[in-house]
């Protein structure tokens, strides 16, 4: 029988991995919707309304999955990690509280107006509601990433009788890793949504949807991907440097660096071996890791052996990092190549469309891999240097956790399959709709 600690960890990982899939889409998709709606308000061209109406349905579905899995998250702290709130609740509590107060209510309330109120409010109020929803999702990301970053790089607090008390709220909120993680995540969301839009638009084009809207959304999403991808490399690099400064053991695990050395090679592939504390089957580029991390060929990087017994498990961090970077590189290449073809030939080839469909969820893979790197990279701590995961776990019997974990797993697998199927089914239905039905457009404008 697995123990409560391991089961609780698996359950939390399951819950948060499932949950983050949906906000990752909605944070940026909200802004895409704002773009479509504003373009429609300015140009009055029905293609923008078409794009809006199709993607608002996907938004609604994605948002609903985010909400229900998010409610589950809000209970997990108390049910499985009571030690977390007892020890650092004075910090975590207000940050979560501000998220609920400044984001959740706003998103949920204006979502109703945005989804169902188009013919009940003026176009201006409707566009405003769409903007408020997008702002809400971004504010929500702000607070939760502030808390997550505080757990990675805690600041602005003091310990009294083993309990954390805040001393400087600005230092808490804008803790050292927060700005990097926040922008890294926003860009990840932008790329995830862009590839989803490109993938589903390509799917519609492959299904012989010869309307204007899927071509338009394909173009917009690929343009956005081309703009955000280089920015993400830049922010990702800054984030890595920040991690090197505050959590060197995480970087050592990412790089598979066992010994402290000057001129650290960049390990392209290897299988880290924690027993021999070396890398098997390593393929390396000499000195490249030092160059990337210190911007100096002979820069010194601390190895894992400096942190023996207090560093994260190496394999998941090492491979997670390579999956994230690899997927990111693939996304950049595909975005640039397809956008260039679109510019030159005005259309994409059959194969290019198929590749984009296959990459509809590439953002999910990269984002999850990235989160695994940063979260597993924090182990064995829950809050770096303050609280270990083991100290925070519940006293609930392991059999109860096993039951709840099994139930969540079952529900989540079914929901994930249904979500993806419904997404493409909605696209199938859109294919069958006739080209612009101007009567609907007119109705909306006059309502």
């Amino acid at each position: 029988m697995l123990d409560t600690l391991l089961l609780s960890r698996i359950q939390f990982a399951t819950n948060i991995s499932f949950h983050i899939l949906f906000p990752t889409i909605t944070i940026a998709l909200g802004w895409f919707l704002v773009f479509f709606k504003v373009r429609y308000d300015i140009t009055n061209h029905p293609v923008w309304l078409r794009a809006y109406r199709f993607w608002v349905k996907i938004f609604a579905l994605t948002f609903a999955l985010g909400v229900v899995s998010g409610i589950t998250m809000s209970f997990q702290f108390g049910t499985n990690w009571p030690g977390f709130m007892e020890k650092v609740g004075n910090i975590a509590g207000p940050l979560l509280g501000y998220e609920v107060l400044t984001a959740f209510f706003m998103e949920a309330t204006f979502l109703g107006v945005m989804l169902f109120g188009m013919n009940r409010v003026s176009p201006r109020v409707h566009t405003l509601s769409t903007i408020v929803v997008a702002v809400g999702t971004t504010i929500s990301a702000f607070w939760i990433l502030s808390l997550n970053s505080w757990m990675q790089t805690p600041a602005g607090f003091e310990l009294r009788n083993g309990i954390v008390y805040p001393t400087d709220w600005l230092a808490v909120i804008f803790n050292p890793s927060f700005p990097y993680r926040f922008f890294h995540m926003l860009l990840a969301s932008g790329l995830t949504a862009a590839f989803l839009i490109a993938g589903v638009s390509s799917y519609r084009l492959l299904k012989k949807d010869n309307k204007h809207a899927p071509n338009m959304t394909l173009k917009v999403s690929l343009t956005v991907a081309c703009l955000l991808a280089p920015l993400q490399i830049f922010v990702g690099d800054l984030h890595g440097l920040n991690t090197l400064q505050h959590q060197p053991q995480k970087v050592a695990a990412m790089e598979g660096a066992w010994e402290t050395q000057k001129g650290l090679p960049l390990v392209l592939f290897a299988i880290p071996n924690e027993d021999t504390r070396t890398n098997d089957f390593a393929i390396e580029i000499p000195k490249a890791a030092s160059l990337i991390l210190t911007h100096d060929l002979n820069g010194e990087i601390k190895g894992l052996n400096e942190f023996e017994g207090a560093h994260p498990p190496v394999k998941p961090v090492f491979f997670g990092f390579r999956i994230m970077v690899g997927m990111g590189m693939l996304m950049i290449a595909v975005a640039f190549i397809t956008r260039l073809s679109l510019w030159r030939n005005k259309r994409l080839s059959h194969w290019q469309l198929k590749i984009l469909v296959a990459m509809s969820f590439s953002g999910w893979v990269a984002t999850l891999a990235g989160w695994y790197v940063t979260e597993i990279g924090r182990q064995p701590y829950l809050v770096s240097g303050v609280l270990t995961v083991e100290e925070a776990v519940t006293t609930v019997a392991s059999s109860n956790v096993a039951i709840s974990l099994a139930a969540y797993l079952l529900v989540y697998i079914v929901l994930l399959v249904l979500y993806i199927r419904t997404l493409f089914y909605t696209a199938d239905k859109a294919v069958q709709v006739e080209e612009y039905d101007y009567s609907i457009v007119e109705e909306v404008r006059h309502a």
Binding site: I71, F75, G97, F105, A108, F116, Y165, W169
Partner: protein
Amino acid sequence: MLNPEMLSYIYGGLMALAILVYAILDGYDLGVGILLPTNNDTDADTMIASIGPFWDANETWLVLAVGLALIAFPMAHSIILQALYLPITVMLIGLIIRGVAFDFRAKAKVKHKKLWDTMFKLGSILAAFMQGFMLGLYVMSFETSMLSLLFALLSGAGVVGAYTLIGAAWLVLKTEGELQSKAIHWCQFAGRVTFIGVIAVSIVNPLINSDVYKAWFESPTLAVLLTLPVLCLALFVVQDRILQTLKLNTKKGGWLPFALSAVIFILCFFGLTYSFYPYVVPGQLTIFDAVAAPESLNFLLYGVIVVVPTIIIYTIFSYRVFWGKVQPLSYY
């Protein structure tokens, strides 16, 4: 900087307010879910449309209530949530199923719509029942005796009845024609069942819980206190008579059953909090023992003062946008 005692009152009050608002608001949309017919597509569409723009925000009050417990009374939060581990899991799965069913029923293949309606109904019943069940266990200080389990089952059924009542009353307010006539009957039936439920819980609770008995029957203001249940029961009777009149003429007073149901919820909730005040975990922790650090609660209070009135304003705005009898849901 406010002192811990003041903060205990403020946050205790806020948490109570969040739970009460949640029970009324999500109560009506869970109630509509409980009543959802699986053999009448037109009625189901109208009923879903009546809660469509609101359910999401309604459920956020649950997150706020749990959040406030977590923030202001972290010790109490972890005791309660660990004690209720499995019922919470079941409730959450109920809420997940009904939340996604709401979207899937409109977006998945037409042949699956009935299945999603059934899921919506089951999820709603599960969530409502579990909330009542947990309330029962809470009232019994999380004892695991046969007696307290039976009481929790009774309490679960009571909450299903109460949510059905307020859900039906919402439909009386928001629908017209044949569906409204049905809703009036549902409301009357649910009102009578809930009436019996409230009486049963009110009699059983002080008999099996001596602290509750003391709070009510050894209080010097017993006579004043007793007006509360008397008033509550009188409202049930008034509501029943109003529904009888509505059967003949639906033109006037369609909002009354919902308003009365909300007042009944408020009175029952007040009775409940009075029974346990100042305990946040019955018999174990008071709000004063459990309160978090003042520097944290003061910091959040700025947000509360600015944001909570704003939330109330835009909630009213949203209800005004969708004012009047329900129209079919559409994305454009």
